[in-house]
C-alpha cells in the first residue's frame, strides 16, 4: 500500500514530464483494446491514484448514521461496470479502517445489484446509462464518483478530471447534498464546484 501511494506521488510530481504520455494513455484507453506495456503502466498509474483518491474520499465525506448498520459496519466502496483498477483498489483499502469502519470493495454489474454502498465508482463502461443509474440511486446515501465526460454536470457527485497530467476533482455539491452527504470543505478547496446541467 505504502509503495502504491509512493508511486502515485511520484507520478503526480513528475506530471509535467508525462504530459505526452497521458494523452497517449487516454487514446489507448478509449480506442485500443489490446494492452500495451507502456500504456498499461500509465493507465495502471492513473487508476492507482484514483484508487487512493477513492479511499481518501472516505475520510472527507460524512454519511448519515443510518447508512451504517452499526459503528463497526463496513464502509463499502463499490465499482459499477468494468473494474479499471486492476486490483489496486483492493490493494489500497486492505486492512484500512475509516472511523472504525473497515473498508470493503464490491463490484456490481447492474444497478440493481447495488445493496449497501457508500462510495460508488461508476466506470466508463457504465457511463452510458448514467442518467438512469443516477436516477435509480436517488434517495440513497451513496457518493457517486466517476471519470466520464460531464459526469458531475449530469448529476454525478465527484468526477476525476485529468488536467496537465494531474487528476483534478469536479464536485457537484448539490447532488451530494441531495443524497444527504456532507463533503468536507477541505475537499472542496482543491476541487472545482459543478452544478447539475450547467455548462
Amino acid at each position: 500500500m505504502a509503495l502504491l501511494k509512493a508511486l502515485a506521488c511520484t507520478w503526480t510530481s513528475h506530471g509535467a514530464k508525462g504530459r505526452c504520455a497521458a494523452g497517449l494513455v487516454m487514446w489507448a484507453l478509449l480506442f485500443c483494446a489490446g494492452p500495451e506495456a507502456s500504456a498499461q503502466t500509465t493507465v495502471s498509474r492513473e487508476y492507482q491514484v484514483k484508487a487512493v483518491f477513492l479511499f481518501n474520499f472516505a475520510q472527507f465525506v460524512d454519511w448519515p448514521s443510518e447508512s451504517f448498520a452499526s459503528p463497526q459496519a463496513p464502509l463499502i466502496i463499490g465499482v459499477l461496470g468494468d473494474d479499471p483498477f486492476d486490483g489496486f483498489l483492493d490493494e489500497t483499502v486492505r486492512d484500512e479502517k475509516v472511523n472504525n469502519h473497515p473498508l470493503v470493495i464490491r463490484r456490481y454489474r447492474w444497478v440493481d445489484d447495488i445493496g449497501t454502498c457508500h462510495i460508488l465508482f461508476i466506470s466508463r463502461s457504465a457511463a452510458g446509462q448514467l442518467g438512469e443509474i443516477l436516477a435509480r440511486l436517488k434517495d440513497r446515501h451513496i457518493l457517486t464518483v466517476g471519470d466520464a465526460e460531464d459526469f458531475a454536470r449530469r448529476g454525478g457527485m465527484i468526477r476525476f478530471v485529468t488536467e496537465n497530467n494531474k487528476i483534478r476533482l469536479r464536485i457537484n455539491v448539490d447532488a451530494a447534498k441531495a443524497a444527504e452527504l456532507t463533503i468536507s470543505s477541505k475537499l472542496l478547496r482543491p476541487a472545482k464546484i459543478v452544478i447539475t446541467g450547467e455548462n
Binding site: 505504502a2 501511494k5 509512493a6 502515485a8 506521488c9 503526480t12 510530481s13 491514484v49 483518491f53 481518501n56 475520510q59 472527507f60 475509516v98 472511523n99 494531474k166 487528476i167 483534478r168 476533482l169 468536507s184 477541505k186 475537499l187 478547496r189 482543491p190 476541487a191
Partner: protein
Amino acid sequence: MPLRDIPIQRKLMVIILLTSGAVLLLTCVSFFTYEFLTFRQTMVRQASTIGKIVADNSTAALAFQNTDDAKEILNALKAEPHIVAAGLYDKAGKLFSKYPANLPDAAFPDAPAADGYRFGRSQLDGFQPVAQGDKRVGTLYLKTDLGALYERFRLYGLIVVLVIAVSFLLAYTLSTVLQKQISRPILALAETAKAVSERHDYSVRTTKLGRDELGLLTDAFNQMLEQIHEQNQTLRQNEIQLQTIIENLGEGLVVSNLEGQLLHFNRAALKLHGFASLEEWRRHLAEFATIFELSTIDGAILPLDQWPLARILRGEQLQDLEVRIRRIGSDWRRIFSYGGVLVRNAAGQATIAVVTMSDITERKRAEEQVRQLNRDLEQRVIQRTAQLEAANAELESFSYSVSHDLRAPLRHIDGFAELLRKHAEPVIDEKGRRYMKTISDSAKRLGQLIDELLVFSRMGRSELRLVDLDHDALVADVIREGGFQKNTTIDWRIASLPRVHADPVLLRQVWFNLIDNAVKYSGKSPTPRIEIGCRVGPATGEHEFFVRDNGAGFDMQYADKLFGVFQRLHSVAEFEGNGIGLANVRRIVQRHGGRTWAEGRVGEGAVFYFSLPAIKPASLPVDATLNPIPT
C-alpha cells in the same frame, strides 16, 4: 569613604538611589527572565497554532495531491513574517510543496524529523503532523526566525535601560527634594550642637521644622539646652557666691591640685602670707620651701613632706594644726593654725585639696601672757597661803596660850573671890555679898568662854576621823544625851536621814549646837516645834541637812553674821550663849567640805542648813517624811 562617614544628605541620597536601583534592576531582570521564558513558549505556541491550522487546511491538498492548493495554503503564511520557510511533506516523506516557492529544496530538510518544535541557533524548527481524522497524510515543516525574539529583547533591553535611567533621574530629583525633610532638621540640630560644643553658647536654639520624631528630637534638644543654660546660670551664680564667700573669709584658704600645684589663694591667704602679686603664689608647693620655713610650736623644723598641704594630699584631715612659719632671710615670723581636707567628687575621687589657715600669733602671745600671769598668781597664792598659814598657826598658838595662860589668874580670881566671900561673909552686907557673887559669876563665865575658845582653836588643828555613820542614831543620841527631851512641850519632827561619811565626834557637835540653838530660841514660843530633815540640793547634788524651828527667828540682813565667832543677834539676858556655837558648826562643816547657811524671819522662826558631800545620793528617800521621835 565608607557609607557611615559620608554626610547624611548624601547618605540618604545614596540609600534612596541604591534601594530604588536595586528594586528596579530586580524587577527588570525578573520581567526580562519572565518575558524570555514566556516568549519562547509563546513563540512555540504561535508556531504550533499556525502549524496546526495550515496542516489541517492542507490535508485535502496532500490527500488529493493538489500542489496548487498546497501552495496557496502555504502562501497564506505571508501574513506571518517571522515564518521564513514552510514545507509540506507527503506521507512518504517527500517534499510536496514549499514556501516561499522560490526557495531551493536544499533549504528544507531532506525528510521530516520527529514531530514537535525545537529551537535551533537562530530559528525555531517545527514538524507538524498533517492528518485527516485518524489518517496521517503528511508532515508540515515550519521554520520561524528567532530574529523576532532577539528584536524584542533588544527592545526590552532598551526599555529597561531607559526606565532605569529615567527612574534614577526621578529618584535623584525626588530624593534631592524629599530627603531635605529628614536631613534639614538633622543638619540644623548638628549645626546647633556644633555651635554649643565649640562656642559654649547655650542660648542658641534649633528651629523646629515638623511634628515628627525629628521635631520631638528638636524640642527635646532645645529643652536640654534650656536646662543646661539654667543650670549653668545657677552654677555660675553659686560660683560667684562661693567666690565672694571665699574671698571675704577671714580665714586664709588655699586650693591646690592633687600634684601640689597651688591653684588659688583667697584674699585673706594672700594677706596672711604677705603676697602682693598673683605670680608670687602660682607655684608648686615645693617652691614654697625656698621662701618659707615651717616648724612646730616647739621649734622643730618641718620637712616638706610634713607640711600641712603635703599631709592633706596624703589623705589626712587636718584641724587646728599650729605651725610656726618664717620667711627665709627675713624677720617675718608668724604662727598659723592650719586645717584642710581633700575635696572629693560625687564618685568619691579626690579632685583638689583645700588648706585653711589663720594667724594665731597674737592669740598665742595673749595665751602666753595669761599663762605667765597665772603662773605668777599661783606663785603669789602659794606665798600668801604659806604666810597666812603661818600667821594662823601663830594666832592659834597665841590664842591657845593666851587662853591657857588666862585660866590660871582666872582660877585665882574665882578662888580668892570664894575665899573672900567665906571670910568676909559675916562682916559684909547684902550689897557686898551681891558684888562678891557677881565677881564669882563673871569669873566662872570667863572661864567657860576661855574653855570654848580653846575648843574652837583646837578644832582647826585636830585631824578628821571619817567613818561611815548612822545619821539617824547620831541625831537621836544627841537629843537624848543633851537632855532636850526634858522640855515636853516641844513638837519634834525628825525625818530619816541618809548615812554620811564624817567625823562622828565633830558631827555630834554640829547637831548638838544646831538643836541646842533651836530649843533655845523656840523656848518662848507657846507651841514650840522643831523639824529635822534632809534634802538633795537641786544644783549641787549634795545632802542638805536642816533644823527648823518656830522660835524668835532673825533678820535676814544679818544672816551672814550668825556663823561668826562671838557674833550674837540677841543679848545674853534674852537668850543665853557665848557666840561660839555656830562658828564651830561652820568650821566643822567646812572641814568636811560642806557649807552652812540660814534662813529666817523675825518672830517666825529660822532654818539652819548645812551640806555634806553625798556618798550615795540614791540612798536618800525622795520624799523624806518627818517622823516624831517616840518619847
